[in-house]
């Protein structure tokens, strides 16, 4: 009963909010949180399209589900590694501010 467009718009807005957070926040953990938001937006999109496809096909479309599951797994792995990195950087440099970690330059 709900139009596909609603989901897509919500996902797009959520994605944009996440992107804003990822670029503008100082705290590395906050950046990670924002990335989680973006991943969630992606998953909404994937599952909405999955629903649409399953509905037009008449049977369960596996690709969308698998895609969504893998996004969730990747998110879990990303958080684990990201937080471990943040902790390691914190140990090394006593900071979690992303802009103070500026070794990425010539």
């Amino acid at each position: 009963m709900i139009p596909l467009s609603w989901y897509l718009i919500v996902a797009a807005v959520l994605f944009s909010v996440g992107m804003f957070g990822a670029i503008s926040r100082k705290n590395a953990i906050a950046i990670l949180i924002s990335i989680e938001l973006m991943l969630n937006a992606v998953n909404i999109n994937i599952l909405a399209f999955w629903h649409y496809h399953s509905q037009t096909l008449g049977y369960t479309d596996l690709h969308g589900m698998v895609f969504a599951a893998i996004v969730i797994m990747a998110a879990a792995a990303e958080v684990a590694i990201g937080l471990a990195l943040i902790i390691a950087v914190y140990r090394q440099r006593k900071t979690v501010v992303a802009s103070e970690v500026n070794a990425l330059k010539g």
Binding site: M1, I2, P3, L4, S5, Y7, L8, I9, V10, A12, V13, L14, S16, V17, G18, M19, F20, G21, I23, S24, R25, K26, N27, I29, A30, L32, I33, S34, E36, L37, N40, L47, A48, H51, S54, Q55, G58, Y59, T60, L62, M65, V66, A68, A69, I72, M73, A74, A75, A76, E78, V79, A80, I81, L83, A84, I86, I87, A88, Y90, R91
Partner: protein, 175 residues
Amino acid sequence: MTPLQIVFLLVSIVTIFSAILVVSLQKIFHAALWLIVTLMGVAILFVLLEASFFAAVQILVYIGAIAIILIFAIMLTRNIMSDEEIQSNRSWGLVLLLVLVFAVIFINQLSQSAIFNSILYPLEVQGQDNIMAFGQGLLDPAGFALPFELASLLLLAALVGGVYLAMDKKGGEAK
């Protein structure tokens, strides 16, 4: 307006509102709490999409694990960055502008799609069968067994890598 639509609107408004709070709040701990609300909202959206499995996984993985770990990390690093500091980069205004432009373009492009305005109806295949098909597809060699195994490998690597990175190497702290 059906009840489902009302639910959807409420949930999505809450979700987006809390997401905005997540990226704008001064206190990082509160941002994490609002993240949980957002994730909950997304889980409800999943339920509305009849992907109850993913709703449960969303709660289990995101709220039960990811959010908790994030909160742990925030607590562990709390003393370094006090909440009184400005939490945004100087260029946040520019970023906001760019992101707004991006969002407008994004949604505009989405609306060009042919299926943009189609309506989602309840699925003919009911929940239990969906999960069954999903599970069998994941373990089917002709289906997604390889990506599934690769994902498990990824998780294992993340586990080991996370432990290694976060491990307090002996002597590193001793000064």
